[in-house]
């Protein structure tokens, strides 16, 4: 009898975690959701809803490298495959953009799909420049909203350079993303 109760409690607990994560996601606490997903991932690795929720939260919290596992795991439903493709485009664009900024890799010949994520927008704008000499920073105007501007630059450290994207609206910084 004790085993049954424990079994029931374990099932209930895993459902509660997903629900709690979803509530946090709705309250825009993406960093917390990403951390929770990371913590409970191994217990829920068969649950594609859980993995998707975790991946979207990490994406919104700019933890893009954490998308690697969801990309590999999401494959059993049409929706999951669509999301896996979406995440992989963003991850690839992040890696390519970073490679180009640090090592001068030419992106102009690439014709990749795009997404609505800020990194994709900056990637598209950057790759349109073509071959060029390295600049200290790049300022791009959004193609839809001309008040929205993106500033792309490398923040150099001793060990590792970090790629920074700042979003401006009417000259005021509204978001600050750092990737490497």
């Amino acid at each position: 009898m004790k085993i049954i109760i424990l079994l029931f409690l374990a099932l209930q607990l895993s459902a509660d975690i997903k629900q709690e994560m979803f509530n946090l996601y709705q309250n825009e606490q993406y960093k917390n959701v990403c951390s929770m997903g990371f913590k409970y991932f191994s217990k829920n690795k068969k649950d594609e809803e859980f993995i998707s929720l975790y991946a979207f939260a990490c994406l919104k919290a700019d933890h893009i490298d954490r998308l690697t596992i969801p990309i590999a795991m999401l494959k059993y439903s049409k929706e999951s495959r669509a999301n896996a493709a979406y995440f992989s485009v963003i991850l690839m664009q992040k890696k390519l953009l970073y490679h180009s900024l640090v090592d001068g890799y030419d992106l102009s010949t690439l014709d990749l799909p795009t997404t609505d994520y800020v990194l994709s927008k900056v990637f598209d704008l950057y790759s349109k420049i073509g071959k060029h000499n390295k600049r200290a920073f790049y300022l791009f105007e959004d193609e839809v909203d001309n008040k929205l501007t993106y500033k792309l630059y490398l923040e150099k450290n001793n060990k590792l350079s970090k790629m920074v994207i700042e979003e401006f609206y009417d000259t005021i910084t509204i978001k600050h993303h750092v990737y490497w």
Binding site: I4, F56, I64, N83, D170, T173
Partner: protein
């Protein structure tokens, strides 16, 4: 003389028989539980899980290289950066790129599953206030019209009409029906995310009285939700209460240093937002 061997055998048989009902109950409960969990999980069952890679290794490695978190930067107006037009990169506008969009149906499904946890009793419970963690940014504005509280008790009229006709009708849900559903759910669990959703929807529909009231309720439950204050101020402007909107936004900005609120305040004061 007692035949102890025979007695022992009989005792053993008796003992085994006494365990049989327990074993049957145990097995049947396990069976029922597994069947229930099978039905509950609508998603396709995953037969194989990739064990080719060690998740923990990858995740741990990744966590060491933690990326910075998205910062909703609290840069005040003093940090305004001037962007000279000549610094901008000129991009030739062209081509139609293939856009990959995420699929968020699973979230809708999760939301529906959440709904089933609540009772269907439509009684209104009073909104519970969360313990405020800081100083409340604004004095409590009262609802514009008390009539608006009726929204909690509103009967879905379209449903009544459908009941009368007694015939099966398949109708496409419109936004009003969606809002009613969310209102019902909000009345049961007082989740500020739901009241914020309702406020946004009413604002989109142009019902600024209701959007004002729901934004106000959201702020009472949790006064740290930026979007709620934005909707609240926008609704006030739409209701010709510009001065009040400016006052509220100023107090909120003082409390939170919100950039979005600053932008809205600029737009309202400059007359760009009417």
């Amino acid at each position: 003389m007692l035949n102890t061997n025979d007695l022992e055998q009989r005792w053993l048989r008796y003992k085994i028989k006494s365990y049989i009902p327990h074993a049957i109950i145990f097995l049947s409960v396990i069976l029922i539980l597994s069947l229930i969990s099978l039905f509950m999980n609508k998603e396709p069952k995953i037969k194989e899980v990739d064990n080719n890679f060690n998740i923990h290794n990858v995740l741990n490695e990744e966590s060491q290289n933690k990326e910075f978190i998205l910062k909703e930067t609290s840069i005040k107006k003093s940090h305004k950066q001037e962007i000279k037009p000549q610094e901008r990169v000129e991009i030739p506008k062209q081509n139609n790129k293939m856009t990959i969009s995420p699929s968020l149906d699973f979230m809708r499904q999760m939301q529906e599953n959440t709904q089933t946890y609540f009772e269907t009793n439509p009684e209104h419970k009073p909104v519970k206030k969360e313990k405020s963690h800081g100083v409340k940014p604004t004095p409590k504005p009262t609802p514009l019209a008390k009539k608006e509280e009726k929204v909690f008790y509103e009967e879905p009229q379209e449903e009544q009409i459908e009941k009368k006709s007694k015939s099966i009708k398949i109708t496409r849900q419109n936004t009003h029906d969606d809002i009613k559903e969310v209102v019902t759910r909000f009345n049961k669990n007082n989740n500020p995310a739901l009241s914020l959703f309702i406020a946004k929807k009413y604002y989109e529909l142009g019902d600024y009285h209701k959007s004002y009231n729901y934004a106000l309720i959201t702020n009472e439950i949790n006064n740290d939700i930026e979007s709620s204050w934005i909707i609240f101020a926008k609704s006030l402007v739409k209701l010709n209460e510009k001065a009040m909107a400016i006052k509220v936004l100023k107090q909120y900005i003082q409390h939170s240093n919100s950039n979005r609120a600053s932008l809205l305040l600029d737009k309202i004061t400059s007359g760009k937002f009417k």
